[in-house]
């Protein structure tokens, strides 16, 4: 009705077919069909999830390795770095992923050293905190070639909550297990004389593969 009234308003004769009717006829003849429903098929395509495993030190769940520096007597604050007497720390990041067309996603390893080394109660050093920036490490087993930079580089703790040790994009076409393995040997800078006592602190490594 509204279309017809509109036609009337434009002075068209009712004997003449309106434009919309001609268009409809034309459309039918040209084979333009109305949208019709179709059977929809779908599935829950649960591709294997990307997995990341991080090992720091001893390969036993729940065990936290200690790195110990003994600075005694005349060596205190001498400026001569002190190497940890407790051995090296093994760092391994393993990424297991399927082949997908997803864009390359970053794999990263960060460390939080913001807490510092606090005085153990009763050991005589009060509220003194030794920052982790006094501790550095040498990293061995550095990869070359294709896997260059897929390592923890040698460095020094920055005291940041999320110090990036490395970030790399995992090729989406890669499928299987990707390992990053290093052994870290820590040393204490020993450039400042702190009150004598026992200090302890913890750094936390975080591996991500998103």
């Amino acid at each position: 009705m509204e279309l017809r009234r509109a036609g009337d308003l434009h002075g068209r004769s009712r004997r003449h077919p309106p434009a919309w009717r001609l268009l409809a006829v034309t459309s039918l003849l040209l084979g333009v069909s109305a949208d019709v429903a179709a059977v929809f098929t779908w599935a829950n395509v649960a591709v294997p999830r990307r997995q990341v495993t991080l090992r720091i030190g001893t390969n036993t769940t729940g065990v936290i390795d200690n790195v110990v520096f003994d600075v005694t007597g005349a060596n205190v604050g001498s400026g001569t770095a002190v190497t940890a007497g407790s051995g090296d720390i093994f760092v391994q990041v393993t990424v297991r992923k399927p082949v997908t067309g997803n864009p390359a996603r970053a794999q990263s390893l960060t460390v939080n050293s913001s807490a510092g080394l606090t005085c153990v109660g009763g050991s005589g050093c009060g509220t003194t905190v030794i920052p982790f920036t006094t501790i550095s490490w040498d990293s061995v087993v550095q990869e070359g070639g294709t896997y260059a930079n897929w390592d923890v580089p040698s460095g020094t703790f920055t005291g940041a909550a999320a110090q990036t040790l490395y970030t790399n994009n995992v090729n989406p076409a890669f499928e299987g297990v990707m390992d990053s393995i290093n052994t870290l040997t820590f040393r204490y800078a020993n450039t400042v004389v702190y009150p004598s006592g026992n200090y302890t602190g913890r750094v936390v490594f975080t591996a991500a593969s998103l």
Partner: protein, 165 residues
């Protein structure tokens, strides 16, 4: 434009298309099931996809699907029916990442095709107002051509009919 001129324009359009044939999408909304989930999703090695870390393909087995096509408008005409595999599917980065294979029932032929292809499944004289048959349908997805934001992957393959001279 006066209506005579409009008629002339329509006639011109018809004139340019005379003798040509057009594929029409067939209505299959009367099919018993409109939404079908693949009960089984495997890797190409026949393992559960979620557990196969070396999977390169996902194989979606839909089982036998019954289609009921509205063919009344073509009854008595000689025609060909194609199965159309969509080229654009959410989560599919390249059409050829989707491959369909099917086994027909009493009417439709066996076949296979990739995204964006039309594959003939039947030809002859349309005898009835409804054409009812089944396809045992399997989809094979190439995982490296998928970019799924979630785990759901779905598509709408459909039928087209083309009246033959």
């Amino acid at each position: 434009m006066r209506w005579r001129m409009r008629l002339a324009a329509v006639a011109l359009c018809l004139g340019t298309t005379s003798g040509a044939t057009f594929a029409q999408r067939l209505d299959d909304s009367a099919s018993p099931r409109q939404t079908i989930q693949a009960p089984q999703v495997h890797s190409e090695r026949g393992l559960s996809l979620a557990d196969d870390e070396q999977a390169r393909f996902a194989v979606l087995s839909f089982g036998r699907i019954e289609y009921k096509l509205a063919t009344a408008a073509y009854k008595g005409r000689r025609a060909r029916i194609d199965l159309v595999i969509p080229a654009v599917v959410r989560g599919l980065m390249a059409p050829d990442g989707l491959q369909l294979r099917w086994r027909g029932g009493r009417l439709f032929a066996d076949g296979e095709g990739r995204g964006g292809e039309r594959v003939p499944v039947w030809s002859g004289i349309v005898a009835d107002a409804w054409m009812i048959d089944t396809l045992e349908l399997t989809a094979r997805l190439e995982l490296r051509k998928l970019d799924l934001r979630d785990t759901s992957f779905g598509f709408e393959s459909y039928f087209q009919i083309e009246v033959l001279p």
